[in-house]
Symmetry: C2
Subunit: 355 residues, 2 copies
Amino acid sequence: MADTAPSSLVSGRPASARRRYGNRPTMKDVAARAGVGLKTVSRVVNGEPGVTPDTERRVQEAIEALGFRRNDSARVLRKGRTASIGLVLEDLADPFYGPLSRAVEEVARAHGALLINGSSAEDPEREQELALALCARRVDGLIVIPAGDDHRYLEPEIRAGVATVFVDRPAGRIDADTVLSDSFGGARDGVAHLIAHGHRRIGFVGDQPRIHTAVERLRGYRAAMADAGLPVADAWVSLGSTAPERVRAAVAGMVGGPEPVTALLAGNNRVTVTAVRVLAETREPVALVGFDDLDLADLLGITVIAQDAAALGRTAAERLFRRLDGAAGEPRRVTLPTRLIPRGTGETPPPGLRK
Amino acid sequence: MADTAPSSLVSGRPASARRRYGNRPTMKDVAARAGVGLKTVSRVVNGEPGVTPDTERRVQEAIEALGFRRNDSARVLRKGRTASIGLVLEDLADPFYGPLSRAVEEVARAHGALLINGSSAEDPEREQELALALCARRVDGLIVIPAGDDHRYLEPEIRAGVATVFVDRPAGRIDADTVLSDSFGGARDGVAHLIAHGHRRIGFVGDQPRIHTAVERLRGYRAAMADAGLPVADAWVSLGSTAPERVRAAVAGMVGGPEPVTALLAGNNRVTVTAVRVLAETREPVALVGFDDLDLADLLGITVIAQDAAALGRTAAERLFRRLDGAAGEPRRVTLPTRLIPRGTGETPPPGLRK
DNA sequence: CTGAAAGCGCTAACAT
DNA sequence: ATGTTAGCGCTTTCAG
């Protein structure tokens, strides 16, 4: 066959020479089979006008017969838009981020875009690696839940036109659109709630201090205590890893120390879960308010400060697509409110006030 | 400037003519700035050998100065592999699928691939639309948690070389690699557990009958009852939507009917959650075993048949990449075991046997 | 209404 | 060690 002929002598590439994409037919193949020009196939595939019904039918038949499917990689290269966005989050397995991601996906879908997810595992390097890999794939936009606190590495990308929105935590050292929950206000409200129920010695167990929300929630905790004129003992505050062992030790220290707390604010869902386990074993009941709602928390009667993870994702995605649609203007910061849901653990009075 | 000159007269495209990808520099631009050939830039970017340290440095400088990042779309077009895989699941917000997806992501990452997620919302059409969109993007492989029961639409894709693995539920009308949990065995064990604790009238509330796992779990339920020589009243079995209202009605009917059940097998995590809520309000305690583990289920003392969602995802992804690495052979079906975790609700004896 | 030609940005194959 | 050329499969442009 023509296999050995120099390619410059044959206009078309012989079918047997196909290798890529596991032998997939191309528009050229469809055109040849339908006896039409390449562009006509393109028109049919993309539903563009200017094709007679008869021609269209012949092309459709060839498409069916060959099992053709448009190669979007090539399309993307030509068009310059991938109709996909990237989402860098901490851990897709975390019940907080699942709904957030799903909400982003729904907005993307409404805009005809696909979503590429990546988990940073709270590792700044991995966040950067992921975000840049997504940029190399030329996602149209990027939504980032930061693990690190320096996002200058994204500057060239943003300048090059990658719309970028930060969620849940603010960007570090760059100015960018951001959507946050009101961590400060939520924590303050939670602690005020405990104070209103008679507590004076209240502890706070939070995430690592390099995480923005952890610091904000601590601020909220301190603000509520200060507002009530209450002192805060050093032993009542513990920031660090949310690994169960660490949290367990922190909680145990607070309830078992010389100045034992009678109530606790748990800094996020993982902390809450462990705190509930530990407190189930204490003799005196300890009041608890957790940041982030949990499945089944109602059945367990856990009082929480709920964030709306889906709203966070939706808001961020909508802002992203508005930018992609050409919205100009300064980066904006949106803060979504939290909601205190009393369910029992937060309304337990301190021992002294008990009936 | 040369802007108006016909492009055939100028070797390079003037910088002002760039439009795509928001004005991004290309390798050509980098080459020009570094005063080297295009291929040399490619070598540096890809870490290929055969570049003097000095040349490399000059190229790196040009890359930095221009903020160049390789366009993977073009690379993909040329190489024929996208280094990405697709995962079509039901709902990323479901606590069962989050960990599954995360496990797939980890395996993908180990193979240098990105993961594109899509939620079918249990809609067969949407599943197909998503799967085919992923194929059009030329994902190297596809992992599908089926919503529909006819996957012949994937035949051309599979023939064209898209490695495909089904998880959690089997493929419909095509033969393909599949990874499942042992729904039948798990349900049978769960019901046997209840029978061993003295129950005779046991109900089953499951998902819609078009969902494979629902049917399998029902089979397991019936097998255990039959093994014990127990009859099954029609009123004790209810398949359908897992929406809270539907489940609530089904459970209420079973515990309040003329032949009230003393124990219940909940067909999946959503059913379990609602069942727990309903049963919390009944006068007589009703025993419960739930399919799928839940966060905090230990604190609530809910006995469950646990599936390992992460193992499901990991196993499927590993099979996928083995296929991508060239593994041949017939499609294989793997069934992962389930594990019964007694925590209380499944060990409650029926009223007659109570102390 | 239809098609030929150019080229998106990159890599493979082949010079030099 | 470095550069040149062709072409991945599609869309854009422009000519019939």
